[in-house]
C-alpha cells in the first residue's frame, strides 16, 4: 500500500493549499505587529479596534439586516414555489419554472450586477437598501428552494398529509399542521444558507450598493484598497467565524431534517 500512502500525502498537501489562506489570516489577526510578516506576540488589540470603530459596526449591522431581509424573502418565496414544484401533479410550464428557479446560480455575478444596475437606474429607481435586499433575495432563492424541495420530496411526508386529510383536515389545515412543521428544519437550514450567501456577498453589493450603503464585505474591500493591515485580518476572521457558525447551524438543521425524514 505504498502507492496509497503517496496519494494520501498528495491529498494532504492539496488540503493544506486550500486552508493556508484561512490559517495565515487567523494567525496574523492575533499578531502584535503592524506588518504581517513577523510574529511579535499574541494580542487581541486588532479585535478591540474593530469594536471601537463605529463605521465598521454600522457596516456589520447593515450586513446583518440585509442578510435577514434577503433570507426571509427567499424563504417565503421558496416555500410556496417548491411546494408547487414537488406536490402538484404535472402542470404546463413546470420545466420552465425549474430552469427559472435555478437561473440565479447560472448567471455570472458580474452579469447579474451590471444588469440590475442598469435596469434599476434606467427605471429611475434609487439604489437603496430595498433594492439591494431584493437583489440579495434573488441570489439566495436557489438555496431555499433547493433545501425545501429536497425535504418535501421525501415520501413519508406525503403519506402523513394524506392521512391528515383522510381524517378530515382540509389541505390548508394539513399544510399548517403537518407539512409546515415537517418542512421546518429544511426551511431553517435553507434560510441559514441564504443568510450566509447574502452576508458574504461582495460582487452583487459592489455593483448595487449606492453611495450610502456599506456592507461588511464592501467595507473590507475598501479597507484593502488602502493596503494590508492587521485590522482587516481581524475583520476577515470575524466574517469567517460567522460563516462557520452559520454553516454549523445549517448542518445541524439539515441532519435533523434527514433524521426525521427517515423516522
Amino acid at each position: 500500500m505504498k502507492k496509497g500512502r503517496g496519494l494520501a500525502l498528495y491529498c494532504a498537501a492539496l488540503y493544506a493549499f486550500l486552508y493556508v489562506p484561512l490559517v495565515v489570516m487567523t494567525a496574523f489577526s492575533f499578531n502584535d505587529a503592524h506588518r504581517n510578516v513577523v510574529w511579535r506576540g499574541f494580542t487581541f488589540k486588532w479585535y478591540a479596534m474593530l469594536v471601537k470603530d463605529a463605521e465598521l459596526m454600522g457596516a456589520m449591522l447593515t450586513s446583518l439586516e440585509l442578510a435577514a431581509a434577503a433570507a426571509a424573502i427567499a424563504a417565503a418565496l421558496g416555500l410556496f414555489a417548491s411546494y408547487a414544484m414537488v406536490r402538484h401533479h404535472a402542470f404546463k410550464g413546470r420545466d420552465g419554472y425549474a430552469a427559472l428557479l435555478d437561473a440565479p446560480l447560472m448567471m455570472p455575478e458580474v452579469a447579474l450586477g451590471v444588469g440590475l444596475l442598469s435596469f434599476l437606474v434606467r427605471a429611475g429607481y434609487e439604489l437603496d437598501f430595498g433594492a439591494l435586499a431584493c437583489a440579495h433575495a434573488l441570489i439566495c432563492l436557489p438555496y431555499t428552494v433547493g433545501a425545501v424541495r429536497a425535504r418535501l420530496k421525501s415520501v413519508g411526508n406525503e403519506r402523513l398529509e394524506e392521512a391528515a386529510m383522510d381524517l378530515g383536515a382540509t389541505e390548508w389545515i394539513a399544510f399548517l399542521k403537518v407539512t409546515l412543521p415537517l418542512a421546518m428544519p429544511a426551511i431553517v437550514s435553507g434560510s441559514l444558507l441564504a443568510f450566509t450567501v447574502s452576508f458574504e456577498d461582495f460582487v452583487t453589493s459592489f455593483f448595487l450598493a449606492g453611495i450610502g450603503i456599506v456592507t461588511l464585505p464592501i467595507k473590507i474591500y475598501s479597507m484593502m484598497k488602502f493596503g494590508v493591515t492587521p485590522e482587516i485580518n481581524a475583520l476577515s476572521v470575524v466574517l469567517l467565524a460567522a460563516t462557520f457558525v452559520l454553516l454549523g447551524l445549517n448542518a445541524w438543521f439539515s441532519s435533523r431534517s434527514r433524521e426525521s425524514a427517515r423516522a
Binding site: P21, P108, V110, S118, E171, V203
Partner: protein, 290 residues
Amino acid sequence: MRTLDRAFSWLLSGRRQAASHLLLAPAAAWLLIFLVLPALGLIALSFAKNGAYGEIVWSPGLQNYARAFDAKYIPVLLRTLGFAGGTTILCLLLGYPLAYFLSFQAGRWRNAFIIGLMVPFWTSALVAFYSWMVILGKEGLLNSALLRFGFISAPLGILYTPFSVLLGLVYFYLPFTVLPLYGSLEKVPRGLIEAAYDLGADRRTAFFKVTFPLSLPGVIAGALLTFIPCLGDFLTAEILGGPRFYLLGNLISNQFLMAQDWPFGAALTCLLLFGMVLGLMAYRRWEPDA
C-alpha cells in the same frame, strides 16, 4: 375564516393548473423582474450607442459588438478564454487524484474530507483572496520566508501576475471540479474493477482500461462546471490581478463603473452570456445523468 381556508386549500391541492401557477407566481415574478428583465435590458442596451456625455442614444446597430472584437479588446477575450481553460486543466489534473482518493481510499473519513473541501468554498472569496495577497505580496509571507532562508536575494513579484490570478482561480474553482469527478467515480461499479484484476490486469491497466474511461462523464461535467463560471469570474483578477491582468468580467465592470460606456459594457456582457449558454448546452448534452 372558512373562505380563507377554502382558498388556501384550493391553492395547495393543485387540482387546477392555475393553482400551481399562482403558488409559483411570487417567485417567478421575482425572477422575472430582477433577472430576466435586466438581462433583456442588457441585450437591448448592447445595440444602443453611447452619447458624448455617457447618455444612451437609441440607434440600433452592431457597433458595440464590432468594437468588442477590436484589436484593443481581442487580447482580453483571448486571455479570459486562456485563463478559464488553464484553470480547468489544472483543476482536473490536481483534482482527479483527490476525487479518486475520496472515492476509493478515504473510508469512514470520507464525509469529513468532503466537508473539508466545501469549507473554503463557502468562506468568503474576498477574504481568501485578501489572505493570498498577504502571502504573495512583495513584503508578504512567502517572499520574506524565501529571503530569510537565502533562496532569493530580492523579493519576487508574484502578486499581480498571471501566476497569482491562475492560483486564485484554481484555489476557488477546485471544489467545482472535484465534486463531479467524485460523483462519477462513485458510480464506477467496483465489480468491474475486480473483474479486471481477476483477468490479470495490474493496477495501472485496471485504472486506465476500466476506472478512468468510466469516470469520463465526471471529467466532462467537472471541466464544464469549472470552465463556465471561470469565464465570468470578476473577483479573482480584481484582487489578485492588479491593473494589468484583468479578465472579461473586470472589463465589463469598468465599462459600467468607470468608463460609463454602458452600451459597450452590455455588449461585452451579452458575449459572456452567449459563451456561457454555449457551455451550458454542452453540459446538458454530456450531463452524466441525462
